[in-house]
Every structure is written in structure tokens, then in C-alpha cells.
């Protein structure tokens, strides 16, 4: 064993050394998904965290600092990954961080209740040139699952510091920091036992290594590159091709072809190593007990009960969102934004009228729209964070998998689409959880068909105005129509443009646990902040633009550029029973969906007073036209913020334009069909 240790250590470049005087260290936080990594990150960094993107990638990068008298940690939270093979952008980011940013130290967070699977990531981390501290989180969960882990036994076996934690109860954090501090001062203490490839492939690994000899540039290492080549790692294969002479590369390629099965042996070798490491450290005193997770799953993943539970959850989230958030939203709109507007108007009495209008209607109007969204998003994200952190959301995806298959997608696509009910912007961003590019693109294209809270607000305002008693029925029908169109578009696209792109569905269903309020709080904050940053500025800018278009050239909105444009579209609108005002309202919904109401208010001359608007609308708009207006606005092109994010995520104007035109066609088609049918049924009077 000792010999082994020495041998494998000498294969790796030496780790970064830190002088005794330096106190600031760069720390990477790695771990598989669902191990409580973000809880630990949040505990360490609090609100000092900075959320951005990894350069050139659409993956979130979270960084923050932790300070204590003896040490300052600059912490980078790496995306949760099961391994470090370049199967996904997250995995690439995690290993590129270690290779290129050269952290002084890594903390790997492991779930003690599924230790063997978790240590797979460690077995990969140990092949990279960085010292590692292993944080054994969820010690309490492991115990409740009948698994007992002895940290110091594991520490002795692995040859690296192992710290037990219950991060959800803030237990073990100072010991973790002590250990980080100790190892960062004396990196030479890091003497881990590293895994080796199983015997049948040791020779071929050595052969590839010698072919690579001297050809691998910094910061890569020959042994690691050879291993990744045998694993069929796409990124490293591509790189190695450029590093080597053509004939050398052909030799390597020949060896790789001959040993395609080596990947299985590498994995088995790692698990054999893991089994050796944990043998003495894990005991299972209570076997055969039915755990809480098993009991809950009897309902949650049941074909019938699971579906009903999902529907009930779904309903509850909506009910909560609208009952809790609507009053706050109204208060913000009337009391905060409204008072601010009148305050600015009064305060700037001497200023030119156009400037006052620009500020009050353009800037504050737009900002008001943004702000009034915050309560809805806050409640929605709270509910979602709760479901996610408890472990339920993965079950929802599992139950939905069968249905998603009809659209050529799988269960994981359900999660971002569900987010879309809150707002389409995070839905599009949330598609990052889908590994396959085709599945991800298709989910992005379908996301705008999920009726977001803004559209639901429009619906909730207009449906009772026109349909009184039948409002609820109309609302549900319209939401169902959207989902039906989503399903049809999904099926059609998956059978045509996305034909044959079936991706693998492999997903962990984590153990259930009580959600951590702090984690949920930070989740809400991060998402709302991202919304304000991404959508906020854009909405304000476009609001100013629309204000300008509706204020010039004449003093009256009826003569504005916007009205002129609306009138040119009136012939098309006739087929749907829409006059130019409603067309302009639809166009303005491109900024933000609920603008439709405000615009109708301005155009029908009732000002911002929505109460008066309802009465006016009933007298001038027929039920058929109203129904057609609602149908079109529910299916209409995504809002500007969604379009911007769609482009940002797909990096393709073609696909972005494609979905805009497709939705425009569907919305107009549905509008015409509904209007004509409704007239035929006699609703046109």
C-alpha cells in the first residue's frame, strides 16, 4: 500500500504552495448535485456572494468571500457535477477552473448517506493538481438512512482531511475552516491515496502516456490526459489531436479504438478504490428499515397518486402566488409607483412637459411594471425553492417523463417549463439543466408557450370584465389552450426539425429532507435580482421607446406613430375583430405582457384608472372580439426580455426569429379561428 501511494503521487505535478505570510486563499467548492453544497456556500459567504456567468458560458458562477482573524477565503462555487468528464458544460467548467485558475485548495462536499457514489467525484478530483478537503455533509440524513460513517477512519484511509458536517444545522463549519486553514499552510500534509485503472488496461494507459510524452502543454498533465482519452472525453480528444503529430495521433487513435471498453474498467477501478477506502469507515447497523423517502415515494412516484399530487401541488403554488402576491402587487402599483409619479410631476413643475412625461410615463411607468412583478416572482420562487430543496421537484420530473416523451423531451424539461408559469425569462435560463443541446433548444422554443404570471394577470383582469360568471371557465380554457398548443408544437417539432435527437434520461431522485429557509431565501433573492438585472433594464428602455412612439409627433395618442402603425395593421385585425387600439395593446405587450391593460387604458381614454376601463370596454368591445383578443395575447410573441434571453441562451438569431414568427402565426391563426367561430355561434353582438 505504501509503495502504491508513493508511486501514484510522483505521477502528478506538485500542488501549489502557499507562503506562511499569505492569508488570502482561493478556494473551489465542488460536489455532486443535491449534497447541500449551496447551503455550505451560503453559510460561508452570506450576502457577500456575487452571481455572474462563467466567461463565454451560460452557466451561473457564484463567488463570495469568508473572513476570519487568521484567514480570508475567496470562494468559488463550482456547478454541481457527478464527474469531471466533459459530458456537460458544467463538468468542463469545474475542471477548467481547477486547471486554469489554480485554486489553492478545493473543498469537496459529499453526501454521507450515499458516500460511495459521491466519492466517484473525489476519485476524479484527486487526479488534478490541487489539495482537497472532504466535507462529509448530511451526517444526520445518513444516520436516519441506517448508514454510519466514521470520519477519522475515512480520513486515515484516504490520506486527506475529512470533516463531518450537518450544514443545514450549521454544525461543523468552524472545524471545516480550521481544516482549510491548516492544509493551506502546510499543503505538503496532503498525501492522498489515488485510484488506479484496473489491471487489464494498465498497459494501454502507459502506452498512450508515452506517446503523449513531452507533447502536452501546461496546465494539462500526461497521465490525466491519457486517462481522459481512454474515457472518450470529447474535449480532451479534440485538444490532443492538435497537440500531437499526425502519425502519433493515429497511433493513439488506433489504441483508443482497440480499447473502447477501457472506459468501463476505469469506472470499475474507481469504484474498487472507493470500496477499499470506505470498507472500514461505513457500518450499516439498521438494515431493512423503510425510510421516510421510501414511504413518501409510494405516493409521489405512483402512476396515479403521483400525478394527482403533482396537479394538487401545481394548483397550490398558483393559489399561493396569486392570493399572497396580488395585494402586495396592487399596493406597490398604486401606493409606491403611483405616489412616486405624482411626486415627480409635482416636484418638476417648472421643467419642460416632455421631460416630465418621459420620466413619469416612460421611465417610472416601465420601472413600475418591473417592480410590480417582484411580489409574484418572490412567492413563486419561494414555493419552487421549497419544492426543489425538499427533493420533490425531481419526482415531479419523473412523473412527467412519460408525457414529455411525446414531445421528444424527457422529464428534466418539465422543470424549466414549470418555472415558465412564474416568468418565461427564468424558464429559458432554467433549461440549462438539460444535458443534450437538441432537447435544450426544443425546451427553450416551447417555453414562451407557458402562460407566465403577467399573461395570467391580463387574463384575470379581462376575463371577468367580459364573461362575468363564465370567467373562470374561459380562463381555464385559455390556459389549457396554451398547454395544448405547446404539446402540439412540441410533438410536431420533435417529429420534424428535431427528428431522431433522443437524449438519455438519467436523473437522481435525492432523499427528501426539510428545506432550509436560508437556502430558499437566497434562492429567491438571486432569482429576483437576476430578473431585475436582465429584464428590468430592458423593460424600462422599451417602455421609454413605446412612450416616445405614442407621444410623437402629435400631442394626441390618436395621431402618434404607434397609432399610425396600428391603423396600418387594422385590415388584418378585422379578421380577429380587433380594432387598432387592441392591436396597439398587443404590440405594447411585447415589452411586458401586462402592458396590454395599461395601453388599453390609455387608448380607450380612461387613463391609468383600470376600474373605469372595465366598464368602457364592455360597451365597445363585443365578446367575440374580447375572446379573440385574449386568445391572441395568451399565444402572442414572447416579451422583449424573453426574446433577449432566448437569444442569449441559443446564441442563434435564426432560432429566436423562428419561434417569434411561429408564435405570431399561431396567435393570429388562433385569433381568427376563435373570432369567426364565436361570431358564428352568435357571440358577436
Amino acid at each position: 500500500m505504501n509503495d502504491n501511494r508513493k508511486e501514484s503521487r510522483s505521477e502528478l505535478p506538485s500542488v501549489n504552495r502557499i507562503g506562511h505570510t499569505e492569508k488570502t486563499i482561493l478556494l473551489g467548492l465542488a460536489g455532486q448535485p443535491n449534497v447541500g453544497k449551496s447551503t455550505i456556500f451560503n453559510l460561508l459567504t452570506g450576502l457577500s456572494q456575487h452571481v455572474g456567468n462563467w466567461p463565454g458560458k451560460t452557466v451561473e458562477r457564484k463567488a463570495g468571500t469568508f473572513s476570519r482573524a487568521d484567514i480570508t477565503l475567496r470562494i468559488v462555487d463550482l456547478p454541481g457535477t457527478y464527474s469531471l468528464t466533459a459530458n456537460s458544460a458544467e463538468e468542463r467548467i469545474a475542471r477548467d477552473f481547477i486547471l486554469h485558475e489554480r485554486p489553492d485548495l478545493m473543498v469537496m462536499v459529499a453526501d454521507a448517506s450515499a458516500l460511495e457514489r459521491n466519492l466517484y467525484l473525489l476519485s476524479e478530483l484527486l487526479m488534478l493538481p490541487v489539495p482537497v478537503v472532504l466535507a462529509l455533509n448530511m451526517m444526520d440524513m445518513a444516520e436516519s438512512q441506517g448508514v454510519q460513517v466514521e470520519p477519522h477512519v475515512l480520513e486515515a484511509a484516504l490520506g486527506l482531511p475529512v470533516i463531518p458536517l450537518v450544514a443545514s444545522k450549521n454544525q461543523g463549519m468552524s472545524e471545516l475552516i480550521d481544516s482549510i486553514e491548516r492544509l493551506s499552510r502546510k499543503p505538503e500534509l496532503f498525501q492522498p491515496v489515488r485510484p488506479e485503472i484496473a489491471k487489464p488496461h494498465r498497459q494501454v494507459l502507459a502506452a498512450i502516456r508515452s506517446l503523449l510524452s513531452g507533447q502536452v502543454p501546461e496546465p494539462y498533465h500526461e497521465g490525466w490526459v491519457a486517462l481522459k482519452l481512454l474515457e472518450g472525453d470529447a474535449e480532451i480528444t479534440e485538444k490532443a489531436r492538435t497537440w500531437l503529430q499526425q502519425d502519433t495521433w493515429q497511433k493513439v487513435e488506433g489504441l483508443l479504438k482497440e480499447h473502447e471498453d477501457a472506459v468501463l474498467d476505469i469506472a470499475s477501478g474507481r469504484y474498487e478504490w472507493i470500496a477499499r477506502m470506505v470498507r472500514a469507515a461505513i457500518t450499516r447497523p439498521r438494515l431493512g428499515q423503510v425510510s421516510v423517502t421510501d414511504r413518501l415515494d409510494r405516493v409521489a412516484v405512483h402512476p396515479l397518486w403521483g400525478m394527482l399530487l403533482l396537479l394538487a401541488t401545481f394548483g397550490l403554488v398558483f393559489w399561493l402566488t396569486f392570493t399572497l402576491a396580488s395585494p402586495v402587487q396592487e399596493w406597490l402599483d398604486v401606493k409606491v409607483v403611483g405616489s412616486l409619479q405624482s411626486w415627480v410631476t409635482a416636484g418638476m413643475a417648472g421643467a419642460p412637459a416632455w421631460l416630465v412625461n418621459l420620466l413619469v410615463e416612460g421611465v417610472l411607468g416601465g420601472a413600475g411594471v418591473v417592480v410590480t412583478f417582484v411580489p409574484i416572482l418572490a412567492v413563486f420562487y419561494a414555493a419552487l425553492g421549497f419544492l426543489e430543496d425538499s427533493g420533490y421537484l425531481a419526482r415531479a420530473a419523473y412523473v412527467m417523463d412519460r408525457f414529455m416523451h411525446f414531445m421528444g423531451l424527457h422529464g428534466k424539461s418539465f422543470l424549466p417549463l414549470f418555472l415558465g408559469f412564474g416568468c418565461n425569462v427564468p424558464a429559458v435560463m432554467g433549461t440549462r439543466v438539460i444535458a443534450s443541446p437538441g432537447g435544450r433548444l426544443l425546451t427553450i422554443l416551447l417555453a414562451p408557450l407557458v402562460p407566465c404570471s403577467a399573461r395570467l394577470v391580463v387574463l384575470a383582469f379581462l376575463a371577468p370584465t367580459f364573461f362575468g360568471q363564465a370567467a373562470l371557465l374561459v380562463s381555464w380554457s385559455l390556459v389549457s389552450l396554451n398547454l395544448l398548443v405547446l404539446a402540439v408544437v412540441g410533438v410536431v417539432l420533435s417529429k420534424t426539425l428535431f427528428r431522431g435527437q433522443h437524449s438519455a434520461f438519467i436523473m437522481e431522485l435525492p432523499l427528501y429532507h426539510l428545506p432550509n429557509p436560508r437556502t430558499i431565501g437566497i434562492y429567491i433573492w438571486n432569482n429576483i435580482w437576476a430578473f431585475l438585472r436582465k429584464a428590468g433594464t430592458l423593460i424600462v428602455l422599451i417602455s421609454v421607446l413605446i412612450w416616445a412612439l405614442s407621444s410623437y409627433p402629435g400631442a394626441d395618442i390618436e395621431q402618434s406613430y404607434l397609432a399610425q402603425f396600428g391603423r396600418t395593421l387594422e385590415p388584418l385585425g378585422q379578421f380577429m375583430g380587433l380594432d387598432w387600439r387592441m392591436i396597439v395593446a398587443l404590440l405594447s405587450s411585447f415589452i411586458a405582457k401586462e402592458n396590454a391593460i395599461a395601453t388599453l387604458g390609455i387608448l380607450y381614454g380612461t387613463g391609468e384608472e383600470t376600474a373605469g376601463l372595465a366598464e368602457t370596454l364592455v360597451t365597445v368591445v363585443s365578446p367575440a372580439a374580447a375572446l379573440s383578443f385574449l386568445v391572441v395575447s395568451m399565444l402572442f410573441i414572447p416579451c422583449a426580455a424573453t426574446v433577449a434571453v432566448m437569444f442569449q441562451e441559443t446564441r442563434s438569431w435564426r432560432w429566436t426569429l423562428f419561434i417569434i414568427l411561429l408564435l405570431l402565426g399561431i396567435a393570429l391563426g388562433a385569433g381568427i379561428a376563435v373570432y369567426q367561430c364565436a361570431q358564428w355561434l352568435g357571440l358577436g353582438i
Binding site: 457514489r117 474515457e231 422529464g411 432523499l511
Partner: protein
């Protein structure tokens, strides 16, 4: 014969050869999607290429790992327990995982 079978456990890649020689006596390999709920199996062979193999391995499902099928209906995904982890698996992926049935505990 016992020698043969224990040898096979260690080097699963020999299975194909062994089955060819003695088709009647080698352990039967079936794909995971055929395994009823409640049964425990050992993974003997992974088809479907390197990418699938590395993704499965990272979640604990490697050659020689013990898998318990928790849910398996005639259609839709499977739910399995492997290395203390519950994993949802598409039917297409389960088809590529060849396993040997163990007796019922």
C-alpha cells in the same frame, strides 16, 4: 463449472465469448428494462458507448454494481436504487444495461 462462473464475474467482458461456447450454462444476461420491481440484479455489461457509460458510472451505475429495481411499468422510465442512490432511467437507457438476476434476497 463453478470456476468458469466466478471467472466471469471478475471479467464481465468475457461473457460474450463464454455464452458462445456454452450457450446453455452461462448466466442469462437480460436488459434492465425486463426486470420486475423488487428484484435485485448485478450489472454485467454496458452497451451504448462511452458517453452513456461515463454518465451512468458517475451516478454509481458501473459494471458489478448491485441494482434494485424500485419501479418498472410497461412504459415510461424506471426507478432503480444503486449505491444508496435512487435513479430515474429512461427505458432506452435501461435497454443498454445488461444484468444478471440475483435470487430474491
Amino acid at each position: 463449472m463453478p470456476v468458469g462462473s466466478s471467472f466471469m464475474c471478475m471479467t464481465p467482458l468475457m461473457n460474450a465469448v463464454d455464452v458462445d461456447v456454452k450457450p446453455m450454462t452461462g448466466p442469462q444476461l437480460v436488459s434492465l428494462d425486463k426486470i420486475p420491481p423488487g428484484a435485485s440484479v448485478v450489472v454485467r455489461k454496458l452497451e451504448g458507448g462511452r458517453e452513456l457509460a461515463t454518465r451512468l458510472a458517475a451516478l454509481g451505475l458501473s459494471i458489478e454494481s448491485h441494482v434494485k429495481v424500485l419501479q418498472n411499468r410497461s412504459h415510461g422510465p424506471l426507478l432503480v436504487l444503486v449505491r444508496d442512490t435512487r435513479i430515474a432511467l429512461g427505458r432506452g437507457q435501461a435497454l443498454k444495461i445488461l444484468v444478471e438476476e440475483l435470487g430474491d434476497e
